[in-house]
């Protein structure tokens, strides 16, 4: 039976984690993800679930404890944001390098300084090279669905990589939405019992994890991680297919909206996709063949699929909620450019940084971007390839 609730993004995450009931959750509270840890620890304290909740002294310790729990053979989860993710940095690489399928929710928030608790993607974009799978979520429903779907992806036999499920701080984490939840048993059955492949606690098969790995082997192990990422798209689609059978909600590696015949398109992640979708409709009414490409899986980057979806456009704008200071645009823009650069006919690309520190991206901002795209499409010329929007001049 379908359970429809009015929950915040954070509440649905704690609800998903309660239903998954991992063996270990080690977490340290940080805005805007605090509520998840708070609510979840309440479930543990009240004896509703048997998860071992480790209240550690920092995010570095939270991720370290997850690494230990996962290496031992347990299913480990955590939650963080922004500077908390930054403090985990060293251990993010230990999780992926040791091939531990830890599932982490990251509530996207701006990096200090200046200190700011609101949304942008500087935190997870900074971790894009850490060997974690990254899935982005537009709203609370997607955040819930992605967290449930994340475990079978990370734990897939050929994958065994940690996974981040990301969604926008405050915009989603603190807004109440209508969300459809699964029954507890459905979630339990969906994620299944975790069967670790190389548990340290399997005393009949003693093994060493994390030994010194020098010039004669290290690059072979990194090559394996590269290979494991190749299996992720299939694992994401397999998880999505089972999830669709359960809920009717369909997920892919990305979502395209009115893109098939679009001449101009915007590429964006997370909650801004919702606003952009509305503006696409408004542009269509005005006669502009506008479209949207929302990237759901950013790591591994579905480059071929993106080239396939965008190749026919005349002009594309990539909106990044993160800057790579000194570069010619944000990380998503760079990836999209790389994905299409070898096409025989390459669409023109303009790139914008928007919404840093929680600055709203409004309808008129997106209309302006489509206005620029229209000009580029008509003239075939790019006057300015990279700029900030939603900023005072």
């Amino acid at each position: 039976m379908k359970r429809v609730v009015a929950y915040t993004g954070n509440e649905v995450v704690s609800e998903a984690m309660r239903q998954i009931e991992p063996d270990v959750v080690a977490a340290y509270p940080i805005t805007p993800a605090t509520e998840v840890v708070q609510t979840f620890s309440g479930f543990v304290n009240d004896g509703i679930i048997k998860t071992e909740m480790m209240t550690v002294e920092s995010e570095h310790s939270a991720m370290s404890a997850c690494v230990g729990a996962s290496a031992a053979g347990g299913r480990a989860m955590t939650v963080t944001a922004a500077n908390g993710l930054a403090l985990m940095w060293e251990i993010l690489y230990c999780a992926s390098g040791n091939r531990l399928p830890i599932a982490m929710t990251v509530v996207n928030r701006a990096m200090s300084a200046p200190i700011n608790i609101h949304c942008d993607h500087s935190d997870t974009m900074g971790a894009r090279d850490s060997g974690w799978i990254q899935i982005y979520s537009e709203n609370a429903q997607e955040a819930y669905d992605n967290i449930v779907m994340s475990l079978p992806i990370a734990e897939a036999k050929d994958v065994l990589l940690p996974i981040m499920v990301c969604f926008d701080g405050f915009i989603i984490s603190h807004s109440i939405e209508r969300v459809e939840l699964l029954e507890d048993k459905q979630v339990k059955d969906f994620v299944g019992e975790y069967k670790p492949q190389y548990p340290l606690l399997d005393l009949d098969h003693p093994k060493t994890l994390g030994p010194l790995d020098l010039q004669d082997y290290y690059i072979e192990h990194k090559r394996q991680q590269h290979e494991a990422m190749k299996f992720v798209p299939d694992a994401v689609l397999a998880s999505a297919k089972r999830f669709e059978a359960l809920t009717g909600r369909k997920y892919g590696l990305l979502e395209s909206y009115k893109l098939d015949d679009a001449e101009v398109a915007i590429v964006v992640l997370n909650s801004a996709a919702g606003t952009t979708r509305s503006v696409v409709d408004m542009m269509r009414e005005k006669g502009l063949k506008a479209g949207l490409l929302k990237i759901r899986m950013f790591r591994p980057f579905p480059a071929e699929l993106i080239a396939d979806k965008l190749g026919h456009c005349k002009a594309i704008a990539v909106l990044d909620r993160c800057d790579s200071f000194g570069a010619q645009g944000g990380p998503v823009a760079h990836e999209v450019r790389s994905a299409i650069c070898n096409l025989s006919k390459v669409p023109k690309v303009i790139q914008f940084v928007y919404g840093l520190g929680g600055r709203d991206l409004n309808i008129d901002d997106i209309e302006e971007v489509f206005g620029e795209l229209k000009k580029v499409a008509e003239t075939g010329k790019v006057e300015k390839a990279f700029d900030y929007i939603t900023v005072r001049s």
Partner: protein
């Protein structure tokens, strides 16, 4: 070195070592820049070298030294330095490449 080692498809993931005690199979002898030379005639079998060797590379049989395990010996020279001054059964020589 790289020619005889397995490729990335043929090794456990994540640097994991799935076989207990397999460090015996790992050749550290290639790290050596100088080589201990043992003179059996001078040796008094005090076994100070056997006690101090950090790589268990002093080979002993029936409480007598029988040789040096060059597959593992890293050439640190501790054995030569603990060999009594009056004995000097172990001397270090530059490793020929």
């Amino acid at each position: 070195m790289s020619d005889k080692l397995p490729g990335w498809r043929d090794i456990p993931i994540g640097g994991m070592i799935l076989e207990a005690g397999n460090s015996a199979k790992y050749e550290t002898g290639t790290w050596r820049s100088s080589r201990p030379i043992w003179d059996a005639d001078k040796c008094i079998n005090c076994l100070q070298c056997w006690i101090y060797c950090p790589d268990s590379s002093i080979l002993v049989k029936d409480e007598k030294m029988v040789g040096i395990d060059y597959f593992h010996c890293k050439g640190c020279g501790l054995c030569a330095s603990v060999c009594p001054d009056k004995v000097q059964a172990i001397t270090m020589e530059i490793e020929e490449t």
